[in-house]
Amino acid sequence: MATTEAEVADLATGAASTATQVEKSQLTRSRVRAAWLFLAPMLILLVMVAGWPLFRTIWFSFTDANLSDLSNAKYIGFENYLAYNDGEWYGVLADGEWWNAVWNTLKFSVISVTLETILGLVVALVLNASFPGRSLVRAAVLIPWAIPTIVSAKMWSWMMHDQFGILNHMLMGIGLISTPLAWTASPDLAMTAVIMVDVWKTTPFMSLLILAALQMLPTDCYEAARVDGIHPVRVFFQVTLPLIKPALMVAVIFRLLDALRIFDLIYVLTSNSKDTMSMSVYARQQLVDFQSVGYGSAASTLLFLTVGLCVVLYMTFGRVRFDGR
């Protein structure tokens, strides 16, 4: 957050540069008061809807709660996380399946978010250019995002059916493959299939946010660049990309958050298969299918911590890497 703090400090001094010290501090104080006033409704609402469920989940993660009788939950400390008993390790952290799920999720998130960012940028740049029929293209691009996930996942699983799916039919038609592939069944392909559908589904999210950023850029830099005769590719990397970076970063964070919590797509497409099981699928299996609310809550809390860690890493890493503003 360092850059933003500096910016705003900059702004505040700028705004008050013509005023006296006394007026400045008064102004700042009234602005801060207004800020809290504006924040209050949002915060109250968030605490209301998120506070209780989050607190409850974290509390349950330290108990032996079971879905069939939640009121009898007993505090058991960290046993759901890790416990040593009769020469064997128990708990989420000692479960190979959990680590398999963590690894699957990370792999999925990195690959799909990277692909979505690149494709989203390309689509946004195309939509940013003006050409006839642009409005229709814009609507068309949003369609994948507009179809409910449970439906699009089923739709793709039908299209990827090894025997009568249209995907194999097309690929065989143009000669890319000679025998039908078992997209969602083969252990090697299942993850690819999930990523493929996810990229298809969420690229519009990225491109729309990037497009908004592109649309809000000041035009004078471009004019200057055009006058100087700089190659468009260089303009993109040296002017556009740094300028849209803050918006891009936020778009990527939210995609990353969603990707790390991916659930319904994998659940519908490949069910509980180990090859694609994500952290959320694991947590849900424990919470709902196995009714172990305590253990599942521990998995959820760990998922929360993992996601948090990824975001913190991403933000530190991201700032160090491209802070060229």
Partner: protein, 275 residues
Amino acid sequence: MKRLFGWIAFYALVAAIILYSVFPFYYAIVTSLKAGSQLFSVEYFPTTWNWDNYVSVFREQPFAYNLLNSVLVSSAVVALSLFFGVTAAFALGRVQFRGRGLLLMTVLGVSMFPQVAVLSGMFELIRGFGLYNNLLGLVISYMIFTLPFTVWVLTTFMRDLPKELEEAAIMDGANPWEIIVKVFMPLMWPALVTTGLLAFIAAWNEFLFALTFTLTNTQRTVPVAIALISGASQYELPWGNIMAASVIVTLPVVVLVLIFQRRIVSGLTAGAVKG
């Protein structure tokens, strides 16, 4: 010559993007016009024009109600999140105060929890407020995923707006609310419409909360209604009906995009303001 080549390449790209985005949807339309065993064969173009699936979607359940519910819930979610989002974004993006970074991270933290883990706590909350089987309950619970997102995106955009504008308004004696409404809002249309659309679609497509927090068919939203479409027997998948329903669900969103797309591309490029 070079220019012509550029144009061809550009339109090829446009065509590829359209094909990639729309083909599965197109295939859904083709499928929705099929009946019975035809489903199990690959066809690139509709061979029969069988509208039965569309008719039965509306006949077998209160699908019109479900559509209306979805529209109501999503619109309310968008209105609320944009309102809270803009005010919060002003505070977080343009005012310096202690604990701002922490607040932003806390808001983000809310969207780090898996939905399944929040579900049962939320269920108790909704029942506690007496909002079970009530659309208002859905609106409130959807805030958990739309609000962090709108706050963050709007904060980023708000922060990058030129400061001279605000200074001028402060000089004119405008209070913060006036600054938001008169100075920033007009400049933020692309961001507002974009986040609004994304929030709308997110609420429109939400399934798990909608399934758990509503009970009667007339209170349910469209994704749940689609999930409830079943065949004659337990295992049979009424594919034609599901596809027909999906096509119907997607259309309002497309219309919405067409209506609002002018606003996605306006803002600074259209205005004379420069940073």
